[in-house]
């Protein structure tokens, strides 16, 4: 029996009317149609380089904010006000409709509790999910799949990273695939005909005694075959989904493509760099504004592109730490502590800034210089893992962290 979902998609097709789209949308290999329950997806986005949360979701109701950032503040008149106290950087205009539709929530003063201001360590901690513990070698997004029912055919796309290498957050026992470019994801390039070299390589890697290469090789060839069967062809994003140029945008477009091709994506990861503005950060315009533009346009396009599949999707953003509350001597900011997180999705109770605001008075700052942390990122991620994708065993996902569902922010409806 066709579900509402299939019906909606078919009507969307009628609107799009191109030949390329139906070929893979018709293949409902996984998900709702077979097993009844709609597949839930969690997408994690990492802003690498420590994004300046205070200039992204601006506490324009704080006098201190303007006092500490004389040359790089976002003037009140330029802020997109959210609730009279917080406001979005003007480059986040594309996200404003999502806020108004209550699909977008914000968690401020959030992040990793570890005190490190090293990019490398802090990213590592946020990906392993064990701040302060360096020996963890798998990532929490990988662990979040432990014990969950697998998609019917054990899809290699169940856990996917968009990019040339598998990030720490997705490494671990659950098979995961890194994909840089859908169109090059095969042996022999775009040619649809199976390459005989591919079968020779597959035979080599499938039975290789080299454990590292064997494991990756096996996943790779499964994914290649499945992708070939899904025939992504020339993808046309949904009407109204305008992806800007750039790697991050390309990656989200390809992720939308994989999700829409019903390849069984459950968790996915993409990252965007260029946030480390020690010098000349800019305010309403400038370096931060530029990267925020790509960030917000890409996210908005991704959301539009997903269409009704967004109902089953939750996107969580994070960055390794925030930046100093005060601007530094070069109209930039140095490494700080707490930051802002976005949560976007169908089941999200958006239009609200979650978390407790610690204030920016000198006595309220962390180590006298940074925004203090009031929400652990694991609390935010844990809610999505437990209540959205359905893994209740959070002690295993975040070992050593006493996560209490009672303390969830309840940003999910």
């Amino acid at each position: 029996m066709p579900t509402r979902r299939v019906f909606l998609r078919n009507s969307a097709l009628a609107v799009v009317g191109t030949a390329a789209v139906p070929s893979f949308l018709r293949r409902a290999a996984f998900g709702a149609v077979e097993n009844g329950a709609p597949p839930k997806r969690l997408v994690v986005i990492f802003q690498r380089g420590a994004a300046d949360g205070l200039n992204i979701v601006v506490p324009h109701g704080e006098k201190q904010y303007y006092a500490m950032r004389p040359s790089i503040n976002i003037p009140r008149k330029n802020v997109i006000d959210l609730d009279g106290f917080f406001g979005l950087h003007p480059s986040l205009t594309p996200l404003q409709p999502l806020w108004q539709q209550q699909h977008l929530a914000i968690v401020h003063a959030a992040g990793s509790p570890d005190a490190t201001r090293s990019h490398f360590d802090a990213q590592d901690f946020m990906e392993t999910g064990t701040p302060g513990v360096k020996v963890t070698d798998d990532g929490w997004l990988n662990r979040s799949l432990h014990g969950l029912a697998r998609t019917p055919q054990n899809s290699p796309f169940r856990a996917i990273a968009l990019g040339p290498s598998l990030p720490r957050i997705l490494s671990g026992a659950e098979p995961a695939v890194a994909m840089n470019n859908i169109n090059d994801f095969s042996v022999g390039g775009r040619n649809p005909k199976a390459s005989p070299a591919a079968s020779a390589f597959e035979a080599m890697y499938d039975h290789s005694s080299d454990s590292i290469l064997h494991g990756t090789g096996e996943e790779t060839f499964d994914a290649v075959k499945m992708l070939k069967a899904a025939d992504p062809g020339k993808y046309v994003p949904a009407p109204g989904a305008y992806y800007p140029k750039g790697r991050f945008s390309d990656n989200l477009r390809q992720l939308a493509q994989l999700i829409k091709a019903n390849l069984g994506v459950q968790v996915a990861f993409a990252d965007i760099g260029g946030w480390d503005h020690h010098v000349n950060e800019g305010a309403v315009e400038g370096q931060l504004a530029n990267v925020l533009g790509e960030f917000s346009q890409s996210l908005a396009a991704f959301w539009t592109d997903l269409g009704d599949l967004g109902e089953d999707t939750v996107v969580v953003t994070m960055s390794e730490f925030g930046r100093t509350a005060r601007e530094n001597g070069n109209r930039g900011t140095d490494h700080g502590h707490a930051n802002v997180m976005f949560v976007l999705g169908g089941p999200v109770k958006g239009g609200k800034v979650y978390g407790r605001w610690p204030g920016l008075d000198q006595s309220q700052l962390y180590e006298g210089r940074d925004l203090a942390l009031t929400t652990d990122f694991r609390q935010v991620a844990g809610e999505a893992i437990s209540r959205h994708i359905g893994n209740k065993n959070l002690a295993e996902v975040f070992p050593g962290y006493d996560i209490q569902p009672a303390k969830f922010l309840h940003y999910l409806g």
Partner: protein, 733 residues
């Protein structure tokens, strides 16, 4: 089931090795290590670790020299002649230019603006002039666009939807290019933002129209009209290019230099992609460089540096020096995409890193600390002491400097001057110096130490960033008073405070340990035995950070020669590409396509943005995408589909046509992998060879133009070579 199969495979592998051992034992010469590998295996191992991979004949040569003697020679690169490499590098003229010359020959926006505003004179050399003319014409276009934009009332805060991309382009490193384009379109933001462009290397068009074209608007704007006009110009220039391509290279070049500025601009815009490449054929290096610079001056320098890096990795006889230069560059990473770095890296690699690659760590540390490349990359050049004369507003002494042609002139305020007048610390260098360059993240320092180190280095700045950048100590920026670093009181003494801190860090046991650990990770294994690292650290301390001595300890350790170490390291993309080219004995006429391959594999040369550089560990480089890229590259390389790289697979197969494919396979296994091939890999290739002949392998789509199949290349030989280079065994060294 599966585990049983792999156990079986393992068993077969062991059986195979057991059969091979007696044969290998017979050749055993070295008696130093009782249970150690035989001399050939030692030679293979040494080549795998000290070089970018063995070339045909290398193993025999190392054995003839004696493994230990060969290692000793590699530790003394000055004793090794490298003339054949030098002739390959000769066409890359930028390698021999000073930062100053680079800045003048390959002007950035800042330079162009100065000439445009009459603050700097137009060069008289006709080739340079041509480059400037095109860039000035582009600058004028941007100015016009901006004026037109300003004259149109701004559209309210409503989001301007980005137009849908005209085609779903999605090759890896676009972001940097976009940012550079945005910076180019927005001259206020000069110098360019944190990220820049590597696009010349990823095959995109460096001078993409997007740099000058605003987003399309509903009705035909003056900008659009201008753009339409330019398109017409380009079309005309395309035809022009076509007719120019038919005349002799010298005539062609002369004609171009004689064009009007507008024609030059249109011509430069048409110099893109493969067509442009054809057009450059036959020109001498300087002519080529000039035309490329007309199109995109900012990309020429890093592109030539990338070519040089690959040519050195592939052809240098001083392999260990190249390995170590790569190691240290990565340790003291600097990103080509940040601001003027693209003009500073040539000097950084050649003058700052390479001379110290096997020398004293402290010399290297001081050299990097003073290098404009590092000072700019980690922002120290702008860090000002909060209580320094500059921060307190003391007037600057008027400065007279000498212009490019020796005329004295009073220095006008630099466009950055206002920012430079700002009055605060920048911690970026201080932190990475402690965390990444010396003590390591667990090295026992605090946030306070970071801040104090940042104060110590205030005043370590750059003279003329955009124009030949050199180190300069500016006492006006220096924070007065004593500083306290790691429990030591640093007395106030200006620039020497920095020297004192660098000495302290270079001689710290933490640093000795950290550097030893990283070296062991490069040469031994991802998780090297702690006992070995400790011994290396002792050598480091005893010999005042003598890198050569530390490596000697490493190369003479039983851990280095143990069986667990043999082929235990997964190659990085650079190591994989260079070793594949070396193994096949290929002739590289153009290394740019190889650099492009590295972009696809996630390791663009000089393109690591974070100060951590690239990982040396397997987990970073073993992923689905990476493996596919490697397999595709292997097949493309051996079937002649990588432009500019010629592989003679027939020669590799033994010269004369082999009696049958299995003989070819056996020859290739020995040549490419020293016969360290698993039964699984061997059988997979045999099965492939026995499949119907019409199943020719599909070639990788690597963006290069395909050539007609060469009748002299037997299909089998190239298939075998491709499969071996893409095999699991070849991914390790």
């Amino acid at each position: 089931m599966k585990s049983r199969v792999s156990r079986l495979a393992l068993l077969l592998l062991c059986l195979g090795m057991a059969c091979a051992v007696p044969q290998l034992r017979a050749k055993k010469k070295d008696t130093k290590l009782d249970s150690g590998p035989d001399e050939q295996k030692r030679a293979v191992h040494a080549l795998n670790r000290l070089t970018f991979g063995p070339r045909p004949g290398d193993v025999q040569q190392v054995m003839a020299t004696g493994v230990d003697r060969w290692i000793d020679l590699q530790l003394h690169p000055d004793k090794i002649s490298d003339s054949s490499l030098e002739s390959r590098l000769a066409p890359l003229r930028t390698l021999h230019m000073s930062p100053r010359q680079l800045a003048e020959n390959f002007p950035d926006n800042q330079m162009i603006k100065q000439v445009y505003e009459g603050k700097r004179s137009m060069p008289s050399d006709p080739a340079q002039r041509a480059i400037y003319q095109v860039q000035i014409a582009r600058y004028e276009q941007r100015l016009q666009n901006r004026q037109q934009k300003e004259s149109v009332p701004p559209i309210a805060a409503a989001p301007v939807p980005t137009p849908p991309p005209s085609e779903s382009a999605s090759d890896g490193a676009k972001t940097a290019e976009e940012l550079a384009a945005a910076a180019a379109a927005n001259p206020e933001s000069m110098p360019p933002p944190d990220t820049g462009s590597m696009s010349a290397m990823d095959g995109a068009n460096p001078a993409d129209e997007t740099a000058m074209t605003p987003a399309p608007k509903p009705k035909l704007s003056p900008e659009e009209e201008a753009e339409a006009r330019r398109r017409e110009d380009r079309l005309y220039a395309d035809l022009n290019t076509q007719s120019l391509a038919d005349i002799s290279p010298d005539e062609r070049y002369k004609k171009i230099l004689a064009m009007s500025a507008d024609d030059k601009l249109a011509f430069a815009d048409s110099l893109k992609g493969a067509k442009g490449q054809d057009f450059l054929n036959g020109l001498d290096p300087k002519q080529k460089e000039t035309l490329q610079a007309m199109n995109a001056p900012q990309f020429v320098v890093v592109e030539e540096l990338s070519e040089a890096k690959l040519l050195r990795a592939i052809y240098s006889e001083r392999q260990l020096e190249e390995v170590m230069t790569d190691f240290w560059f990565n340790h003291f990473n600097v990103f080509a995409g940040k601001g003027p770095e693209r003009l500073l890296l040539t000097n950084y690699e050649q003058e700052t890193i390479r001379p110290h690659a096997l020398g004293k760590f402290e010399d290297l540390l001081v050299a990097t600390a003073k290098s404009p490349a590092m000072l700019f990359y980690l922002d120290n050049w702008m860090s000002v002491g909060p209580d320094s004369p500059q921060a307190l507003g003391a007037p600057a002494r008027p400065m007279v400097r000498y212009g490019p042609y020796g005329r004295p002139r009073v220095v006008r305020p630099h466009p950055n001057a206002r920012r430079k007048q700002s009055s605060g610390l920048n911690e970026n260098y201080g932190r990475e110096l402690l965390e990444l360059h010396t003590l390591s993240v667990n090295g026992g320092y605090s946030q306070r130490d970071v801040t104090e180190v940042a104060k110590v280095f205030t005043g370590w700045t750059i003279d003329r960033v955009q124009d030949g950048a050199s180190f300069h100590y500016d006492p006006r920026m220096h924070e007065p008073g004593p500083k306290f670093v790691l429990g030591h009181r640093i007395k106030p003494k200006g620039e020497d405070e920095g020297r004192e801190v660098l000495h302290m860090l270079a001689t710290s046991p933490q640093t000795a340990h950290f550097i030893s650990l990283k070296l062991a990770q490069r040469f031994v294994s991802d998780d090297p035995p702690p006992a070995l690292v400790d011994r290396m650290a002792k050598t480091f301390e005893k010999n005042k950070g003598d890198i050569r001595e530390v490596l000697l300890t490493l190369f003479h350790s039983p851990e280095f020669w143990s069986d667990q170490t043999y082929r235990a390291k997964v190659k990085t993309p650079l190591e994989f590409v260079a070793s594949a080219v070396r193994a096949t004995g290929a002739d590289v006429q153009d290394a740019v396509p190889l650099a492009r391959q590295l972009n696809n594999m996630g390791m663009p040369l000089y393109g690591a943005q974070p100060p951590t550089g690239y990982s040396m560990k397997a987990d970073k480089w073993v992923s689905s995408s990476a493996l596919l890229n490697r397999m595709n590259f292997a097949i493309a390389l051996t079937s002649g589909k990588v432009r500019g790289v010629n592989v003679d697979t027939q020669q590799l197969a033994g010269g004369t046509p082999a009696p049958d494919p299995s003989a070819t396979l056996s020859t290739m296994e020995t040549k490419l992998l020293a016969a360290d091939v698993s039964k699984q890999t061997h059988d997979s290739i045999v099965a492939q060879l026995q499949s119907p002949k019409n199943d020719k392998p599909q070639q990788a789509n690597d963006g290069s133009r395909s050539k007609p199949p060469d009748q002299n290349h037997p299909q089998d030989a190239s298939t075998i070579a491709g499969l071996l280079l893409g095999s699991p065994e070849f991914q390790r060294r």
